[in-house]
C-alpha cells in the first residue's frame, strides 16, 4: 500500500519533470529566441533567462545573437579598365530585431547570409566598376568600405532586422592572363634596375681607372721635370767648374785636352798611322842635332 503510494509519487515526479523539461527553456546570453503559437509570432523580446511555454502549443526558435560572418565566395568583377578581378569579401552582422529577422528569413539563417552576400557583391560591383585597379587596391578604400557598410546597414536593419557591423574586402586576385602581364611589367622594371646598376658600376670603374692613369702620368711627368732640372743643374755646375778652371790658361787647356784626345783616339792596334818623318816627333830621328 505504502509501496504503491511511493511508486505513484515517483511516477508523478517523473511526469512532472517531463512536463517541466518540455515547457521550461533557457535563453542564453548568446541567443535570440522567438516564440511561435501555431506558426504565429507571439513573443520576440526575450532577454537571457529562464522561461516557460505551453508544450505542443508554443514552438520556440532560437537564433545566434553573436556577431556572425557572411563569407561569400570570390566573385568575378569588372573594373573601369574592363579587366576582370576576383574579389573575396566578408561581412560581420548581428541580429538586432529577431522578429523581423524571423519573418524575413522564414527562420533560416542561411537565407540571411545569402541575401547579405548578394547585396554586398552588388554594391562592390557597382563601386569597383567605376574604379581602376590602383584605386581598388591602394589603401584608400576605408571610406568606400565605410560607405558600403553604412548603406547596407540601413537596408539590412529595415529588411532583415540585422545590423551590419562591417564589410571588408579580403582579397583581390587577378586572373592568370592579367597576372602574367603584371609579372612581365615587374620583370622589365627589374631589368632596368639591374642594367642601371651595372652601368653605374662600369661608370665608376672607368672613372676610377682614368683618374688613376691620369695620376700616374702626372706623377711621372713631374718626376721627369725634376730629373731634367737636376741634370741641367748638374751640367751647369760642371760647366761652371770647367770654365773656372780652364779659363785660367785657355791655351794650355787646348793643348792638354788635345793630347788627351789623341791618346783616346789612337789607342787601338787596329788604327794605322801614316807618319812623315818630318813631324816634330821625329825631329831627332833623322838628325841628332834636331834641325
Amino acid at each position: 500500500m505504502n509501496n504503491n503510494k511511493s511508486l505513484f509519487v515517483i511516477a508523478l515526479i517523473l511526469v512532472g519533470l517531463l512536463v517541466l523539461s518540455s515547457s521550461a527553456f533557457v535563453v542564453k546570453e548568446t541567443e535570440k529566441a522567438v516564440l511561435l503559437r501555431f506558426g504565429e509570432l507571439v513573443r520576440t523580446d526575450y532577454t537571457p533567462g529562464l522561461y516557460f511555454k505551453v508544450p505542443l502549443v508554443h514552438e520556440l526558435r532560437k537564433f545566434d545573437a553573436r556577431i556572425q560572418t557572411v563569407d561569400s565566395q570570390p566573385v568575378r568583377m569588372l573594373n573601369s579598365e574592363n579587366k576582370f578581378m576576383m574579389v573575396d569579401s566578408y561581412a560581420k552582422f548581428r541580429i538586432v530585431d529577431v522578429g523581423r529577422f524571423y519573418k524575413a528569413t522564414r527562420g533560416d539563417e542561411r537565407n540571411a547570409v545569402r541575401l547579405l552576400a548578394e547585396q554586398i557583391n552588388n554594391r562592390l560591383r557597382n563601386q569597383f566598376g567605376v574604379r581602376d585597379l590602383h584605386e581598388v587596391v591602394s589603401g584608400q578604400r576605408d571610406q568606400l568600405m565605410a560607405d558600403i557598410t553604412k548603406n547596407l546597414n540601413e537596408t539590412a536593419q529595415k529588411d532583415l532586422g540585422v545590423e551590419v557591423v562591417d564589410v571588408r574586402v579580403k582579397r583581390i586576385d587577378l586572373p592568370p592572363e592579367v597576372s602574367e602581364s603584371v609579372f612581365q611589367r615587374m620583370r622589365t622594371g627589374r631589368e632596368l634596375e639591374a642594367r642601371d646598376h651595372r652601368a653605374k658600376g662600369q661608370e665608376a670603374s672607368e672613372r676610377i681607372r682614368a683618374n688613376a692613369d691620369r695620376q700616374k702620368v702626372v706623377i711621372e711627368s713631374e718626376a721627369y721635370r725634376q730629373a731634367e732640372e737636376l741634370r741641367g743643374a748638374g751640367d751647369a755646375e760642371a760647366a761652371r767648374i770647367y770654365a773656372d778652371a780652364y779659363s785660367k790658361n785657355p791655351e794650355f787647356y787646348r793643348f792638354s785636352r788635345s793630347l788627351t784626345a789623341y791618346r783616346e783616339s789612337f789607342k787601338d792596334k787596329g788604327d794605322m798611322l801614316l807618319v812623315e818623318p818630318d813631324s816634330a816627333f821625329f825631329r831627332y830621328l833623322k838628325d841628332p842635332a834636331g834641325k
Binding site: 546570453e29 589603401g139 760642371a238 767648374i241 807618319v275
Partner: protein, 384 residues
C-alpha cells in the same frame, strides 16, 4: 517575466533568500514541502524530513535518496580553474560573472561554465600573393601572436572568434600592403607594414568584439613572387657587380699609383746621381788641370815638350805605324809586315786615309827591299 530578473526576488522559484548566497538551494526543504503536500493530497499523514527512522512513514527511505541526490548534485557543481584560465559563468543563460583560478562551485544545470585560456599566446599565420600600391604582386608570410584578453567577449559576443581573426588578418594585411609600394614591402618598410597591420587588425577585432588582444605582428617573409624571382635576383647580382667593378678599379688604382710614384722616385734619384757624377768629375778634372797648370807655369817649354812626347809615344806605341818618307831621300823604313797583313783585312779606318797610289808605292818599296835582301844574302854565300 523571468523568475530571476532583477527586482523579481519574490518570484524566486526557491522561495527563500538563497539567491544571494552561493550555497546550494535548500532542496531538502523543497522536497519535504512537496512530500507534505503530496501526503496531504493523498490523505497520508504529514511527515517531517528528520523522520529518518526505518519504517517511519513507509518502507521507502526518502531521506536517504534525497541526501544521496543532494550530495551528488553538490559534488557535481565543483570545478577547478587553472592559473592560466578564466571561466565565464552563465546563470540560467544570463551572464553572471567571470571567475579566476582556483576551486569553484556553481549549481549544475542552472549555471553554465565555459573555461578559456587567458595566458597562452597563440600564433596565427597567413600567407599569399597580394597586390601592392604600384600594382605589383608580392608574396607575403605574416605571423600574428595573440591571446585572449576579454574572456566574456570571446565566449559570448562573436560567433567564431578564430575565423574572425583569420579574416580580419587577411583583410588588414592586404589593405596595408595595398597602400605600400612593392619595394617598400620587400625591403624598406617591412616593420612599418607589420606595425600598420597590427593597428588595423586590432581595430577590426575590437569592432567585432572578439576579446582578442594582438601582441606581435611579424612580417616573416615578403618577397617577389616565384615567377619574377629571377629578375629580382638579377638586381641583387647587378648591385654586387656594381660594387665589384668599383673594387676592381680601385684595386687597379691602388696598384698603378704607388708603382708610378716609385718610378718617379727612381727617375729623380737617377738624375741626382747623374748630377753628382757630372759635377764631381768636373771638379776632379778641374782640380787635375789646375794642379798641372801650376807645374806647367813653372817651366812651360819643357813641360809642354814632355807632355807632347809622352803622348805621341803612347800613341805611337799603341798603334800601327807606317813611316813614309815622301821625299824619298831616306832609305830608313820600318815595316811591321805581320801588322800590314793583318790590317789588309781590317783597318778600314786607316785605309780610307791611305790612297791607292800610296799603297802601290809601298808594295813597290817592299819588293825592292826584299830583292836587295835576297841579293845581299846570295853575295854572302858566294863569298863563303
Amino acid at each position: 517575466m523571468a523568475w530571476n530578473e532583477p527586482g523579481g526576488n519574490n518570484k524566486d522559484p526557491w522561495g527563500g533568500g538563497n539567491r544571494n548566497n552561493d550555497g546550494p538551494p535548500d532542496l531538502d526543504e523543497l522536497l519535504r514541502k512537496m512530500q507534505q503536500k503530496l501526503n496531504g493530497l493523498f490523505g497520508g499523514k504529514p511527515t517531517t524530513a528528520d523522520d529518518g527512522r526505518p519504517g517511519g512513514s513507509g518502507s521507502f527511505p526518502w531521506s536517504l535518496v534525497l541526501i544521496v541526490l543532494a550530495v551528488v548534485y553538490g559534488l557535481w557543481g565543483f570545478y577547478q580553474v587553472d592559473a592560466s584560465q578564466s571561466a565565464v559563468v552563465l546563470r540560467l543563460g544570463k551572464y553572471h560573472e567571470t571567475v579566476g583560478s582556483g576551486l569553484h562551485w556553481n549549481p549544475p544545470l542552472i549555471d553554465n561554465v565555459t573555461k578559456v585560456n587567458m595566458t597562452e599566446v597563440r600564433t596565427e599565420r597567413t600567407t599569399g600573393q597580394m597586390l601592392t600600391e604600384d600594382a605589383s604582386i608580392v608574396d607575403v608570410v605574416l605571423q600574428v601572436q595573440w591571446h585572449i584578453d576579454d574572456a566574456e567577449s570571446f565566449v559570448l559576443r562573436v560567433a567564431d572568434p578564430l575565423k574572425s581573426l583569420q579574416e580580419a588578418t587577411d583583410s588588414a594585411l592586404r589593405h596595408v600592403v595595398g597602400s605600400q609600394t612593392l619595394n617598400g614591402v620587400i625591403s624598406q618598410n617591412r616593420t612599418q607594414v607589420a606595425a600598420d597591420t597590427q593597428v588595423r587588425l586590432q581595430q577590426y577585432l575590437d569592432l567585432y568584439k572578439t576579446g582578442i588582444r594582438v601582441d606581435v605582428v611579424n612580417l616573416t617573409d615578403a618577397k617577389a613572387p616565384r615567377e619574377v624571382q629571377d629578375a629580382f635576383d638579377d638586381v641583387v647580382r647587378a648591385r654586387e657587380d656594381e660594387v665589384r667593378l668599383q673594387n676592381e678599379a680601385q684595386a687597379y688604382a691602388n696598384q698603378v699609383i704607388p708603382v708610378a710614384r716609385g718610378q718617379a722616385q727612381r727617375m729623380i734619384e737617377e738624375a741626382e746621381a747623374y748630377k753628382s757624377r757630372v759635377v764631381e768629375s768636373a771638379r776632379g778634372e778641374a782640380a787635375r788641370f789646375e794642379k798641372l797648370l801650376t807645374e806647367y807655369q813653372r817651366a812651360p817649354d819643357v813641360t809642354r815638350e814632355r807632355m807632347y812626347l809622352d803622348t805621341v809615344q803612347d800613341v805611337m806605341s799603341n798603334t800601327s805605324k807606317v813611316m813614309v818618307d815622301v821625299e824619298g831621300g831616306n832609305n830608313m823604313m820600318y815595316l811591321p809586315l805581320d801588322k800590314l797583313a793583318e790590317n789588309s783585312g781590317s783597318g778600314a779606318s786607316t785605309r780610307t786615309q791611305v790612297s791607292s797610289q800610296v799603297i802601290d808605292e809601298i808594295t813597290q818599296r817592299v819588293m825592292n827591299q826584299v830583292r836587295t835582301e835576297v841579293n845581299s844574302n846570295r853575295r854572302a854565300r858566294e863569298v863563303r
